[in-house]
Every structure is written in structure tokens, then in C-alpha cells.
Amino acid sequence: MDVLPLVSSLLYQFGSGAAFFFLAAVGLVIILGMMNIINLAHGELMMVGAYTATISNHAGIPFPVCVILGFFVAAAFGAVLELLIVRRFYGRELGALVVTWGISLVLGQGTLLFFGPFMPSIKIPGGSFSYGDFSFSAYWLILILVSLLLIFVLWWIYNRTTYGLQAKATMQNAEMAKSLGVPTNRIYTLTFSFGAGLAGLSGALLAPTVTIAPFMGQQFVAPAFITVVVGGATNVIAGAVGSSALLVAIKTPIGMALGSFSGTVALLLAALIIIRIMPNGISAPLQRFFDRRARGGVL
């Protein structure tokens, strides 16, 4: 077997795996990482985005528009959930955990009742091309690029906009932010809704690659939580990017050599070890590194 195709296949697997983890986690990064709400309805928010995209795609709307629709429908959903339910549970982590679990059950079962046990999927956009023994899906390459774009957009929103500043202030110290004139209630609603919208967006993006079914969201919950927890809360975006890249860098070569079962075991073991030696996630040392470089005047 030629070396070059194998290396490019490994790189492709790494990229698409990391993109999968990042997309699964991106909504939870905001809701768990920033707002500290253990959102067990995360998978169902992704499901809302996927269903929106699938239904609108079957109605003849072009796929990119469907993805954007997925974002807005899930965001609206998130806003309603926040206003009606979630806002009563800020600061009560276990209460939020139970109530979001309840929401996830209602959403999953409700979807089963209204839409039946499955929905025909969307055809994966883009074709495939091959190199050596291996072939590659164009759509996954697009997903890798979209993930990179999302990382940049998130960084820009939370570091360069007034909303981003106010949101960070609110999450760090709501009382102080309020006394400085930040409309904290609205910031909470907006942030939860934005997190839900991102979950919907990634659900819509992943919809062509997965089965569209009422309980499809559950497959994303474990990867999402692992990514966010390993990433840590110090710098949620850098943490999510770093942890998805690191975990997949361990999973891919082991999975390729020994099979996907061993790959999954290796990934979980790695997550266990990382959390043991870095209880605050990998974003804590990453942030220290950034800070030191900033003080040294390099960055």
C-alpha cells in the first residue's frame, strides 16, 4: 500500500472526525461552557435543526438555505424554552439537569408521535473522489471548512462585539453586570437561544450524514459532553477546538489499526486521563499559554 494515500486518508479521517466532534459540541459549548447549564436536551435541539432542514429540503428549498432555517428555528425554540422554563433554573445545576432531561423526553416522544419513527434522509450534497486505495466525501471536506468558519465567527462574536463583551460579563458576575447597565435577562435569553441555534445549525449540517429519526439526537450527546468537559470552561471555544482535535488525533490511528471499537475505547480512556490530570480541561493550560505569550509581547 502506498504511503501517501494512507497519510491523506488518515488526515481526512482526522479532519472529519474532529469536525464531527466540534459540530456535535458547538451548541453545548455556549450553553454548558458559558452558561453552566447541563443541557441534556442538546441532542433534541440538534434534532430540531435536522428535522427543519430535512422537511424544508423535501419541500424543494436548496440545502444551504435549509441549514440557515435550521439555525433560526432551533434558536426560536431555544428562546421559548429559556423564557418559559430554563430561566427559572439558573444557579440550580441539578434542577436544570432534570428539567432539560424532561424537555428532551418530551421533544423526542412528541416527534415520534407527530412525524413517525423516521423521515427519508437528504441526499449528501457533493460527490466523492478517490486517491490511491481510498475515496473521500466532498461533503465532509465542506463540513471541515464550515467548522473552521464557525470557530472564527464564534471567536469574533465573543471577542469583538458588544454582545460578546456583555455576555461574558453577565456569565462571570451577573449582579455587577446588571449594575453597570447590562440587560442581563435579555443577555441570558439571547445566549441560550444562540446556543440552541448553533445546535440546530450543526444538526442541519450533519443531517445528510445521519438517520433522521426522533431519537437521533442521543448519538450526539455523549461526544458533545465529552468534548466540552475535556475542553473545560476557561476558554470554551479554544477548549472545544483543542479537545475535539486531541481526542480524534488519538482515536483515528488506533481505530485504523485495530478497528473502530478500539478507537472508541482509546478515546474514552484519553478523556478519562485528561480530566484526571487537568480537572479544568485542556483550555486552562491553553489559556495560561496564550496569556504568557501575550505578556511576552509575542502575540
Binding site: Q13, K123, F134, F215
Partner: protein
């Protein structure tokens, strides 16, 4: 989390506990289903279970004479990872119960043991070729449809009057709680249906893990239990009747065909639990017999939904065809992902397409060149099946598909009614004896014969395949394949009671021909 009584989506089918006022002790429920209980309480519960086990049969004997409805307990997954299969099976049971209550039954009856001659009918007149009798078929000894060979004819009108409304003058009632794709909940529901509802027959089980989770409870209470799924084979249990197809009926024909048509190098990718492991073992044992070789086996956990690495491994191994034994919503993602990555190997399976209707759920050509030896698939072109499909969609117009195991559930419920009529009672030991009398039933797939000594069924097997547009066609047919493996290992449940599952390792035959 262990209490599930508030969450049943079935509308009215699951009746509230009948107020029997007998001795079914509540302690049994708390003792055996609770998780956070103290040791002392647990001991008390276990003691109560033991008492109940000895007392219950007598109670049931007495109750069997009563004139209430005949209760059929039915557990399937109406939510969760496996809901895509469970809802179909639930609807199948509802359809069969409705037909029984309306005074209908499927043709068939006790015919004694035997093969095709006992079950089907030989052609009533000499074969006419060309534009002759279109319903007449010929199979050569390999099973392929051909111009000469054994001729047989099938009755096409199989739903007939039973002569009574309901069963033995009583209405049939379906109690169908939701297993939620969770083995713990399956165990609780099984206890509830047996101990509180005292069902006359239990029809339940999608995955082998679910079946093995509840079979000890079934055996403890000597409950008549029908498992209607296709599975890996090997269950020899005096209380259990397995009406789905098994490996010798599905794996051998399809592996033989694939190796002849596409080549000897096989890559197996299977769900990582007893079904996937044991079916892969069958494949490994039989591929060498027909000149094939398993170049790689990969077992995938049920939670895996990203197949990028598996796809790259398959490409690196360069097989002639891929044997996919993937189960559940997560794992069916394999098909669109493999198609998007340009993986174009022919595929074979015993479950995909016939159970999860992947050819309807995923856009073409994800399932292009998929081959599966099925005992049923909605597309079976016979008149009796078209009539069955029509009846189904009249009752459930919004259903997406009728799968293999849904048809099995449908004829199994009718088969139970036939056996109970033969026994003249719903008393469970008598019905089990009646089921062991050599019953055949004209199911939508064709004639099915319940083999008494192993409690498994012969099936009409068709090799179905999907093309690039996902149209299903049938390339070979075997009008009757016997479930012979348990006979090979010496099981005779009529003579000797057994309560175990045999695995291929217990048969030296399985290692005889494989190289490793």
C-alpha cells in the same frame, strides 16, 4: 428512573392492571426491579419471588377457566434507538388481534412434520410453459427459478373465516407497553405482564440482548413466549417459540450466492453484541465451505454513528464484497456515509433492508447492490402478500414500511390463536403442546411450518436485492428452508426440556473447515 408506568404512548391498548385481588405480591416488584434497595429488603423480595414462583402456576390454572378476555402481552420498543423496528411490530400485533376478533384466521393447521410436500400443495395439474398458469413456479435444486424442476402452487387467498369472533368465545386483548430500547425496562415490563396482568401469551423481543434479558423471567414463570425476530439462532427453550428466520436459513444461501457472483474475499462489519458476533461466527464457519474467506471482521458498538474510520479500513482491505450486520438508528448511518465516500462494494446482510427499510429511508444509491436472504419483505410480489399489504395500510395508512419481523409478529399471533383453538383452552401448557403438534400456517411470505422439536420455523426464503434506484427484485427463491442446526446438536424439546442458547462454539463442525 426504574418506574416507567407513566410513559406509555400506546393508546388504550395497554390496560390498567386488572383488579384480580389474588396473591400476586407487591413485594416481588419492589424486590426484583428496584435498584436502590437495602440488602435486607432485597432478601425479603427474593424470598417472595420464590414463593410466588411456586404459587403462581396454580393461580393461573384456576384463572384459565375464567371468561375474561384472552390476554396477549406484547413488548416492543416504541421509542429510542430501536423504535424504527418496534412500531412496525406493534402495528402487526394490532392487525392480527383485530382480525382474530373479527372472526378471521390464516389458513393452515396441524400437518405433522415434513417438508414442502406437507406444507404446500403440489401442482394440481401438469405444468404448462409459456403463457400458461402464471402462478405456477419451478425451482431447480439450487433454488433458482427455472424452466423445469419441481412445480408447486400456493394458495393466494389465505385469510379465511375462523368460525367464531375472538378466540374460544372470548375477546382477544393486546397489552402492549413500551420497552423504550432499554433492557432494564424490558425486564420490569415482562414481570408486570406475567405477574400482574397474567397474560396468556407473551410476544416480545427485537434484539437478542432484549430476548436474553427477559428469557430467565419467562422460564421462571413457565410463560408461553414467542420471539418473532430473525436472529442468530440457537435458542433451545421449552417455553420459547422462535418464529423468525435464523442463520442456516439466511447466512448460508446469501454467502453462497455472493461468493459465486462477486468473489471469495469477505469483509464483515457487525453490531457488537450477541447477534452480530454469532452471525459473524456462522459466516466465518460457512464461507470456507463454498470457497470463501473472511479477510477481516469488525465489530461496532451500538452507539457508534460515525463510520469514517471503518470505511477507510474497508478500502484498505479491498474485499470483493462486504457483509453488513448493522443494527439500530445510529448504525444505519453507515449507508449514506459509505455512499458519500464513494464506497461501491456489493453488500450482503441478514437484517438490513428487510427490517430497517434502509432502501426507503436513504437516498439512492446508498443501498445499491445490497443482497439479503429474507423470509419476508414488503415487496414480495405474490397475490397473498399484496392482499396483506393492502389490509395493513387500510388500518395504518401512515406507516412507512412493513418489515420482516412485523410479518413474523403478524402470523405468530394468528399461529397462537390456531394452537389455542386446537388445545381448546388458553391454559399455557396445553397451548405449548398444541404448538408442538406440527402446525403450519399460510403466512404472507408463504407456508411456514413450526418444527416441534426445536421450536423454530421453516421459512420461504427469497434472495432480495436493491438496484441503483433502490428497486427491489428477487434473484432466487427457496420455497422451504428448514431450521436444522439445533437438530444437528441434538435438541429435542418434545422429549427433553431445555432452557439455554447454543452457540456455534459448542458444535465442532464450526471449526472443522475454517483455517484459523
Amino acid at each position: 428512573m426504574t418506574k416507567q408506568s407513566g410513559k406509555q404512548p400506546d393508546q388504550g391498548a395497554s390496560k390498567a392492571k386488572s383488579s384480580t385481588g389474588d396473591t400476586t405480591p407487591d413485594a416481588v416488584e419492589t424486590g426484583t426491579s428496584g435498584t436502590g434497595i437495602g440488602r435486607r429488603q432485597f432478601m425479603a423480595g427474593t424470598a417472595a419471588t420464590v414463593t410466588a414462583a411456586t404459587v403462581l402456576p396454580n393461580i393461573r390454572m384456576a384463572k384459565a377457566q375464567s371468561s375474561g378476555p384472552v390476554k396477549i402481552g406484547h413488548i416492543e420498543d416504541l421509542s429510542g434507538n430501536l423504535a424504527v423496528y418496534g412500531v412496525q411490530k406493534y402495528h402487526a400485533a394490532q392487525l392480527a388481534v383485530k382480525e382474530i376478533n373479527e372472526g378471521k384466521t390464516l389458513k393452515g393447521g396441524p400437518v405433522g412434520s415434513g417438508g414442502l410436500g406437507a406444507m404446500g400443495q403440489f401442482a394440481a395439474k401438469p405444468p404448462v410453459m409459456g403463457n400458461g398458469d402464471k402462478d405456477l413456479k419451478f425451482v431447480d435444486d439450487g433454488g433458482a427459478l427455472s424452466g423445469s424442476g419441481m412445480a408447486f402452487i400456493q394458495d393466494q387467498d389465505v385469510l379465511v373465516d375462523s368460525g367464531e369472533s375472538g378466540l374460544l368465545g372470548r375477546e382477544v386483548e393486546l397489552l402492549a407497553p413500551d420497552g423504550q430500547s432499554n433492557n432494564n425496562i424490558w425486564q420490569q415490563l415482562t414481570r408486570r405482564l406475567i405477574q400482574e396482568d397474567e397474560v396468556d401469551c407473551l410476544v416480545a423481543g427485537f434484539t437478542s440482548a432484549e430476548r436474553e434479558a427477559i428469557r430467565p423471567i419467562v422460564d421462571q414463570h413457565k410463560q408461553l413466549y414467542i420471539y418473532t425476530n430473525q436472529y442468530e439462532g440457537g435458542v433451545a427453550d421449552s417455553n420459547t417459540f422462535c418464529t423468525g428466520a435464523i442463520c442456516e436459513q439466511q447466512v448460508i444461501p446469501v454467502v453462497d450466492y455472493m461468493i459465486q457472483k462477486f468473489g471469495p474475499r469477505v469483509y464483515t462489519i457487525a453490531a457488537d453484541y450477541n447477534f452480530g458476533q454469532l452471525t459473524a461466527a456462522w459466516t466465518k464457519a460457512f464461507a470456507p465451505l463454498v470457497g470463501g474467506e473472511i479477510i477481516e471482521e469488525e465489530f461496532v458498538p451500538l452507539s457508534v454513528s460515525d463510520f469514517t474510520t471503518s470505511i477507510a479500513r474497508i478500502q484498505a482491505a479491498k474485499p470483493d464484497w462486504v457483509f453488513t450486520l448493522l443494527v439500530g438508528t445510529n448504525q444505519s448511518n453507515y449507508y449514506p456515509q459509505a455512499a458519500a465516500a464513494g464506497l461501491e462494494y456489493p453488500m450482503a446482510s441478514t437484517v438490513n433492508m428487510a427490517q430497517g427499510y434502509e432502501h426507503r429511508r436513504f437516498k439512492a444509491p446508498s443501498l445499491n447492490r445490497m443482497y439479503n436472504c429474507v423470509n419476508y419483505i414488503e415487496e414480495v410480489p405474490t397475490a397473498r402478500n399484496r392482499a396483506f399489504v393492502k389490509r395493513w395500510y387500510e388500518m395504518f395508512p401512515d406507516d412507512p414500511y412493513i418489515g420482516q419481523m412485523a410479518q413474523n409478529t403478524y402470523f405468530s399471533v394468528h399461529l397462537y390463536a390456531k394452537a389455542a383453538r386446537l388445545a381448546g383452552t388458553t391454559e399455557q401448557e396445553a397451548v405449548k403442546k398444541a404448538l408442538e403438534s406440527g402446525l403450519s400456517i399460510e403466512a404472507p411470505e408463504g407456508a411456514v411450518f413450526l418444527e416441534p422439536s426445536t421450536h423454530h420455523c421453516s421459512h420461504y426464503i427469497r434472495l432480495a436485492t436493491a438496484d441503483a434506484q433502490h428497486n427491489v427484485s428477487f434473484v432466487r427463491e427457496w420455497p422451504s428452508i428448514q431450521p436444522w442446526w439445533l437438530q444437528r446438536v441434538g435438541v429435542n424439546l418434545v422429549r427433553n426440556k431445555e432452557y439455554k442458547q447454543y452457540i456455534p462454539d459448542e458444535d465442532p463442525f464450526f471449526s472443522m473447515f475454517s483455517k484459523s
